[in-house]
Symmetry: C3
Subunit: 137 residues, 3 copies
Amino acid sequence: MKVFTEYLFFETKKKREYVNITNEVEEIVKKSEIEDGMALVSAMHITAGIYVNDAESGLIQDIDEWLQRLAPEGPDYRHHRTGETNGDAHLKNLLIGHQVILPITKGRLDLGPWQQVYYAEFDGRRRKRIVVKVMGK
Amino acid sequence: MKVFTEYLFFETKKKREYVNITNEVEEIVKKSEIEDGMALVSAMHITAGIYVNDAESGLIQDIDEWLQRLAPEGPDYRHHRTGETNGDAHLKNLLIGHQVILPITKGRLDLGPWQQVYYAEFDGRRRKRIVVKVMGK
Amino acid sequence: MKVFTEYLFFETKKKREYVNITNEVEEIVKKSEIEDGMALVSAMHITAGIYVNDAESGLIQDIDEWLQRLAPEGPDYRHHRTGETNGDAHLKNLLIGHQVILPITKGRLDLGPWQQVYYAEFDGRRRKRIVVKVMGK
């Protein structure tokens, strides 16, 4: 049994940004030399998410608008009494989820044809990281 | 350490449908002969979900109405400029999640008494599949 | 390869309550003597969730209000025809998710500085449990 771990770092230019990380995760899986198993891809922050969906720019805008509608920015979160202004980013993180587990078969990510892995930044313009942990044989 | 993989296929009659797959997953766990570990159950499409909840028909209708309310069908998604009409199905997938990890103890799914595993189809009437990957010893 | 399993029990005083379980999970990881791997933390009920976010009391109230807004209590769920009154708790469970997988590196939970693990009770005042299953080497 093997376990292999790497971290990926991000510093987005915009507050909210959606970054396709499928190739980076695939590279880590190759380096792990694990043929059969699973890869955990997990944000290490509470204002960023990880999700699997389509690499279609219109849909990515739809997702962003939808997150804004269900978890809106605003000055009225109790959390802001601490001096923070990112209450919405915490709720967006909870809505989209902060992690996925990707199956690995024959040394490759075992994804459907349209499945792409995304890092979703909700409070960017600062250095953040995710952990990728591959486990299997 | 053992890893065991199978795929399940679906072709629902309706656009949206909720299919109890607990027995099918339990069968795969038995075949794997894994006594202690975890089973990843993950949709390989971006318009279908996997979730764990109650096998109660009224609640399933409640879930469907709730998903329709929070991620409504409609002609106004940017994604539809590509010719697609299933923007809502992508958002429903993100809301409900596309995968679960089920604990396995003594060779069985280690679920609570009411926990049932569901395949949630949001853009059906075509052949789709999920992966079940069991890992453990 | 090692697998280690423990259960945690809860009986909250309030209907909805958010319990920080990070230390309890960390203790289980230590007991497992697993240095490198993953810990599944999963509710065994369909009206309780597990999530990772901030241990800030204002934010926890924000999360509770947000869940009430998106998955409101009310008498009009079809599920209530069975005699139940907790339709909202099922939807809150689906929204926040019922499980997380925590990476373990060097024998410790490999979390970011603000990441705390929470048990989210949506239908409390009764005995409930979660499973923690640690897998790795």
